[in-house]
């Protein structure tokens, strides 16, 4: 490519013990949407951080419009015309939209002018935003808009997007893609990082594939199938999880009209949740993060108690029981956040195994810990789930995200739960580890346990769920059989469908999240 906007040659960056990028070269043309593909740890994030000036390369060079590009800070990168939308939103919850935008600009105009420009820009690109709202109250999709608008106000020549769609509903994804296409038609180059291969096939003009820090190929994504792209990323063939047909058994867990206040200031209250879960069934609960997932998990795990008669496990009221009591009865949970919630970061794997399994696996007797038994249990988890670690004495923190996730899920699965509830079981986990975790959940269900999978990844839910329900603003839709459910229908369940039959007047404050969702959910 001769008219490359950005060209990268021989970029290398090593961290102690790991080479994040090894001799990486590629080029992006003006107006091109270029994908960076790779598993977790393939070096995509490090690469874009070097382009954005957050990390300095050890060797190699970059050129932007033919001129050397070696930003020492994000400020310099922005001045050169590079903007970035982060994977984990880099927003300030307690500040309002205009303040957040101003923070990302070198010389922000006075507030009134800025607010006007935010309105104009957001309308021009079909991303409505109110500059006066507090960011902590916004939905994930709206928060991303703030980031995008912040970038666009600086008229970038290269826009980097790190996993932008992982938190969006299908409708929001469509709006984002329309925005990106408009931008690229105006000549802005877009560097797009994603795991989602179908997205890349529809959106991107070119792709560079990274594996273990090296470029292992490049292609035109539209000409490849998703399976081919996945194989290029992983370097081997992936098998889809196998699911055995089985009859749904008797009722394992029943929730009736459960309403609970939010767990924290930016949380969502649960509103009148009802569901029936049968033995041998996988119920997928979809929804964008922050719609009550954490609260639902807490209500099931026992971290939040419920009034009497709302939650029954095999016919027994468990609403007032604490997590240990519920575990004893066979209701096990694995929360979303691995470090800090599901596992104690600085404790060893043995100790972490002990934390949830001491009752069911009888790892403690008369108040004394049976260390050899605890270690044995941790080792069983490590072997059964192929957790890559030197041994159970290693701290949970030292494991990579995917490995720790396998451990956390495996720890619960091996305790033979009657009901297992997992939240985001494969979040940030690479493809092969994700496949292993999904298979384990399916196998568990095949053995007769009931499983609830709460996830934002719709493909995952479609792959493993028997029934699918959507959680939106703390309300759970009626579960529907997952088979034959179209993306369109799911999107409506996730996004705005609830607003059509808005029950009661118990909504505390209007949340434009849903209002916007409703508007987007009805294609004209």
């Amino acid at each position: 490519m001769t008219d490359a906007l950005l060209s990268v040659e021989g970029l290398t960056k090593a961290y102690p013990g790991v080479v994040a990028n090894d001799d990486v070269s590629f080029a992006v043309a003006s107006g091109e949407v270029h994908a960076l593909l790779g598993e977790n740890g393939a070096g995509k994030s490090t690469l874009v951080k070097m382009i954005y000036g957050l990390v300095r390369p050890d060797a190699g060079q970059m050129h932007l419009s033919g001129k050397p590009h070696a930003p020492a800070s994000p400020k310099e990168a922005r001045a050169a015309g590079v903007a970035m939308v982060f994977q984990h939103f880099s927003l300030f919850d307690a500040l309002d939209v205009a303040e957040n935008v101003a923070l990302g600009m070198e010389t922000p105009p006075p507030r009134r002018t800025l607010a006007r420009r935010i309105r104009e820009m957001s309308e021009a690109y079909g991303l409505p935003l109110d500059p006066g709202r507090i960011v902590g109250d916004l939905s994930a999709g709206e928060r991303q808009r703030v980031e995008i608008i912040r970038c666009l106000l600086q008229s970038p020549r290269l826009l980097i997007m790190d996993e932008p769609t992982s938190v969006l509903t299908p409708q929001e994804v469509r709006i984002l893609f329309a925005t990106l296409e408009k931008l690229s038609s105006e000549g802005t180059a877009i560097l797009y990082i994603s795991h989602k291969l179908e997205e890349i096939r529809t959106l991107c003009d070119g792709a560079t594939i990274l594996r273990q820090g090296r470029v292992v190929g490049s292609c035109t994504p539209a000409e490849k199938s998703a399976a081919e792209l996945a194989e290029m990323m992983v370097g081997s063939t992936l098998s889809a999880p196998k699911r055995a047909r089985h009859e749904a058994g008797e009722v394992a867990l029943e929730i009736r009209g459960l309403s609970l206040p939010p767990a924290h200031a930016f949380g969502t209250p649960l509103r009148d949740i009802s569901l029936t879960l049968r033995k041998g069934e996988v119920l997928g609960i979809g929804g964008v993060a922050g719609n009550g997932q954490d609260e639902l998990l807490a209500a099931l795990s026992g971290e939040m108690r419920s009034p009497a008669g709302r939650i029954e496990l095999a016919g027994r009221d468990i609403g007032g029981l604490d997590p240990t009591g519920r575990r004893d009865l066979g209701l096990l949970t694995a929360p979303e956040e691995r470090l800090g919630h599901a596992a104690a970061p600085d404790m060893s794997l043995t100790e972490n195994a002990l934390l949830t399994a001491h009752g069911r696996e009888r790892l403690a007797r008369h108040g004394f810990i049976d260390w050899s038994k605890a270690r044995g249990f941790a080792e069983r988890v490590i072997t059964a789930f192929d957790v890559r670690t030197p041994g159970p004495e290693n701290a949970a923190r030292s494991l990579s995200g995917g490995n720790l996730q396998k451990f956390v899920i495996g720890r619960e699965v091996l305790q033979r739960p009657a009901v297992l509830v997992v939240n985001q079981p494969t979040w940030g986990v690479d493809a092969s580890a994700a496949a292993a975790i999904r298979q384990a959940l399916l196998d568990l269900a095949a053995e007769g346990a009931a499983v609830i999978v709460i996830s934002q990844d719709l493909d995952e839910l479609m792959e493993i769920s028997d029934r699918f329900a959507a959680l939106n603003e703390g309300r759970l839709s009626d579960p529907r059989p997952a088979e034959g459910l179209s993306v369109e229908e799911i999107g409506l369940m996730l996004g705005g469908a609830h607003d059509l039959e808005r029950p009661g007047g118990d909504r505390p404050a209007a949340r434009p999240a849903s209002d916007a969702g409703a508007a987007e959910a009805h294609p004209s």
């Binding site: 951080k49 000036g53 994000p74 982060f86 880099s90 300030f92 307690a94 101003a102 923070l103 930016f266």
Partner: protein
Amino acid sequence: MGLSTISPTLLVASLMIAATPILLAALGELVVERAGVLNLGVEGMMITGAICGFAAAVGTGSPALGFVAAAASGAALALVFGFLTQILLSNQVATGLALTLFGLGLSSLLGQGYSGIRPPPTARFDFGPLSDLPFVGRVVFGHDWIVYLSLALTALIWWFLTRSRAGLTLRAVGENHEAAHALGMKVVAIRLCAIAFGGACAGLGGAYLSLVRVPQWTEGMTAGAGWIALAIVVFASWRAWGVLVGAYLFGGVTVLQLNLQAAGVAFPVEYLSMSPYLVTIAVLVLMSARSGRRALGAPACLGKPFHASQ
């Protein structure tokens, strides 16, 4: 003897004087905490400021130079805290407590030989005939320049935090240091500046005690004023005007307690001495019972260590 001996004019005027040291220290701590740093060493920095300011004023004969020295010593001590917590990443709570103990010890060492000396008087700000007005003259126009400085500082900090770009950056750092770093803000440098400013304010507050309020040097003379300043920041939900209200409220209680004692009211003084702390605890409980950190207005990254790894 009775309540009638308490003059409202003097009460209000001395209230302002009693409140000024904690107001200054609390304003400094407000800026520090808004930047996401919890410095529990306010008491130590105040008392160090008190003795350094006292020594400098006695040595040079100029109270103004005394205040400058107090601010400098407070800032220097704060920067020790800053270096330990921001560069070496030590625990902020433990370091802050250590700073308090260190400051108390250091000040008694420096203060040897300064007991019983009277410092040069700090002049009242001259408003001309305005000071002769009844009540208003004494209450509004009858103070020294540090009182007016503390009031101006309140307004300035309010403006800085809510209206200025630099203040927005400071709040952003306290709110989400990871995101601030990703935007290219110098988190550690900004926090060090805030810490130094907080130390300077605490030093000024200490010197006001030893040079104006008492005015004398005695060991441990801050007597918990630094802790009250810390409590006031929380009481004020991290807002500048709230700090002013809190400081004057607690200053009022202190003065009232002294007056009641002097008037011989049969009410155990200990209860009044306790009251600022009890009020703070009550306010904290009330506010956090409502809906947690957000309603309190606490910076989200308060007390969390930051390291720019990757």
